[in-house]
């Protein structure tokens, strides 16, 4: 994959999901000085978000929505 394709892919991802830009920003932020505990605490918070998102998506659709479709 050449640089042009990588840029195209990055722009595709960024266009599809604004959160990617937030992620890139967070990666660029200075995290020096944070302790292992702080990093892991933040990681746990993010995993909780992933879990909550998954649970939300896995919930059965409401009966009203099912009857309409």
């Amino acid at each position: 994959m050449n640089a042009s394709e990588i840029l195209k892919l990055l722009s595709l991802i960024a266009a599809a999901e604004p959160a990617v830009l937030g992620y890139i920003k967070s990666l660029l932020e200075n995290t020096q000085g944070m302790t292992g505990d702080q990093f892991l605490s933040e990681a746990d918070g993010i995993w909780a978000q992933v879990k909550a998102n998954a649970q939300q998506q896995l919930q059965p659709a409401p009966a009203a929505a099912r009857s309409q479709s």
Binding site: L12, E17, M34, A43, K51, N53, A54
Partner: protein
């Protein structure tokens, strides 16, 4: 006086070892956070693509189910790193997460019919795998 030198020497070695240990712990923690953040992005990307009609409902549910398992594995990985204060003791949990990512990449994501969407989600998962590989390499 000689005894004092010994005490200072032992104290300095202890401090150096503590510093080394803390540095490894912080690095392992940072990688663990990057891993979680990248997984979240991959999940949000997939959800966005599903909401846009690019992913079939059955495939979407299979992928989200895998993300749910990955979140559990991620928390266990964080706990393992916390208990050992580096990535060495977390090898078993790294293997679990790697297995889930591999399954996601080789089975669930291949079910996405839209080429661009599959490529985008796959790229995000590859990023997760790369970070996890870094954690594993850090554990060597």
């Amino acid at each position: 006086m000689k005894k004092l030198y010994y005490v200072v020497f032992v104290l300095m070695v202890s401090l150096l070892l503590t510093g080394f240990s803390c540095e490894r712990y912080a690095k392992a923690g940072q990688l663990a956070k990057d891993f979680a953040a990248t997984a979240l992005v991959a999940q949000q990307l997939e959800t966005q693509a599903y909401n846009g009609g690019y992913i079939q409902p059955a495939t979407h549910l299979a992928i989200q189910s895998k993300f749910s398992q990955l979140a559990d594995a991620g928390v266990r990985l964080d706990q393992a790193i916390n208990q050992t204060h580096n990535a060495q003791g977390a090898k078993a949990q790294i293997d679990v997460a790697a297995s889930l990512l591999s399954d996601l990449s080789n089975n669930q994501i291949t079910g996405i019919k839209d080429d661009k969407t599959r490529l985008a989600v796959q790229a995000a998962i590859v990023s997760c795998q790369a970070i996890l590989d870094n954690i594993a390499a850090f554990a060597q």
